[in-house]
Point group: C2
Chain length 282, copies 2
């Protein structure tokens, strides 16, 4: 079998940076924590746990030590609490997410009502929203945007992993809602680029493997868009989940991975597929 790995599979800039910062912090003396999983990869989180980094649900659980802020960011209240508790803060928030948080704060302070284009349940969005000091709305679709009230000054910011189409729809709806609109296009192209490359690959192979956390929204979406083009698409977290039966009659396998999937997990998957292939042909 030919195994083709998508050019940009796995870690995006922000996740790579956050992971590096977390491993560096873990190597230092003292108690180290992360507020929520540092990235949406249970395997990376597990490795950090083995190095002593405990995942907290809230800062109420600790009184001292080092707290790593995950790549998706936290709320301004949580960051404030960490500072007040005099914890050592390692801020691994993705710089693109940080920018969106800052934009929301600035818009809010300048008197704009803020619309965040994104998924209200996602921790990134909850963090971004917390920086609004005035009115703020989270809008996930054109339909939700249509229900927004009339506003005087509207500020628009997007969850970094949103699709450009969704931002477009919300902007058009908002054009009817207010006389002044200020948009910060905070969408990061890492998600779009991974999807474009993965779908291009899915068209040319007989089987598609998508690696990434089941809690990772971008990996889930990556698997969805591939499955639309290649029914033999499988999402896995680790090489152990691979079923040799998937490769019956397969000449070409495509492999891609979500933005929070580390290289070592990708390498293990490719290695495992090679083993299965050897067993088939021998």
């Amino acid at each position: 079998m030919e195994i083709i790995l998508a050019k940009r599979a796995g870690f995006c800039f922000g996740v790579k940076r956050a992971t590096q910062m977390a491993f560096e912090a873990a190597e230092k003396e003292g108690k180290t924590y992360s507020l929520g999983p540092i990235i949406h990869s249970p395997q990376v989180v597990h490795r950090l746990e083995e190095m002593g980094v405990k995942v907290l649900k809230g800062l109420g659980e600790i009184t001292d030590g080092t707290i790593i802020v995950r790549s998706h960011g936290v709320t301004s209240e949580e960051l404030e609490e960490a500072v007040q508790k005099e914890l050592e803060v390692v801020d691994a928030t993705c710089p693109f997410v940080k920018k969106a948080q800052e934009n929301v704060q600035n818009l809010s302070e300048a008197g704009y009502e803020v619309v965040v284009v994104g998924d209200a349940d996602h921790p990134e969005v909850q963090g971004i929203v917390s920086y609004a000091k005035g009115k703020v709305y989270v809008v996930g679709s054109e339909e939700e945007a249509a229900r927004l009230p009339k506003m005087k000054k509207i500020g628009i910011v997007a969850q970094t992993t949103q699709s450009f189409d969704n931002l477009k729809h919300v902007v058009l709806e908002c054009l009817r809602k207010g006389a002044e609109i200020r948009i910060f296009n905070t969408i990061c192209d890492a998600t779009a680029v991974r999807q474009q490359e993965a779908t291009a690959l899915a068209r040319t192979v007989d089987c598609m493997i998508v690696i990434g956390g089941y809690n990772s929204a971008n990996t889930k979406r990556l698997a969805e868009v591939c499955a639309e083009l290649q029914p033999r698409t499988h999402q896995i977290e680790t090489a152990q989940e691979i079923n040799p039966a998937w490769f019956g009659g397969v000449a070409k396998v495509g492999v891609t991975a979500g933005a929070s999937t580390p290289k070592w997990l990708i390498d293990e998957v490719i290695e495992r597929i090679r083993e299965i292939d050897s067993a088939k042909t021998s």
Copy 2:
């Protein structure tokens, strides 16, 4: 024949205000001028000329007197020249146009490159554009917007009589051109309201009369949209242009007028149609 006049035919807020200011200025002592036609109605301009208001092509022609700034506004350089010459300035610029000029100036001073959605040849647009102190582009269509360069901060303002659809298309194109976009929706609904009422009327009548200056863009467009629905649509400037043959077999006549058409011209047209109808039936 039944004659139905569109509810909102003729003078919009800005034109009514400008005309009042011009007639008041004309009644005062001293030399009075307007820079370009005060509104796009040759008949109103002619009345003002009879009262002594001379239409200038440029301020170079005069050294003193009162200058009336037309409803469409003038360039910042022209206004500056008038102030330097110590002319008395009667600023009849439509407040909505004034707002667009101010928005362009503020955007420009705040470091935005400015996109004006409008017709580059229109005096209103030429006035608005002159308030940009940095880069400024006039964009009349989606195709022109697609040719805009990449920019960092884009400010968007519209000619007050533009269609919402055109603004929408330009905004969407600009979303791909820059990371920050600030939009002032300076479209005045007077144009859209007149078009909506006129087209609703055109559907129900056998003949449609549209009154307004041949140099008036909004009147021309009003006649175009009516003609699409009612082939027996005629644009006229005055009652004298009416041809009785237009009304052969007509039971219902619709009448509307552009935003720069005074009430007395509309009244004369209705009177003339009544006369023709009386002659037909007697």
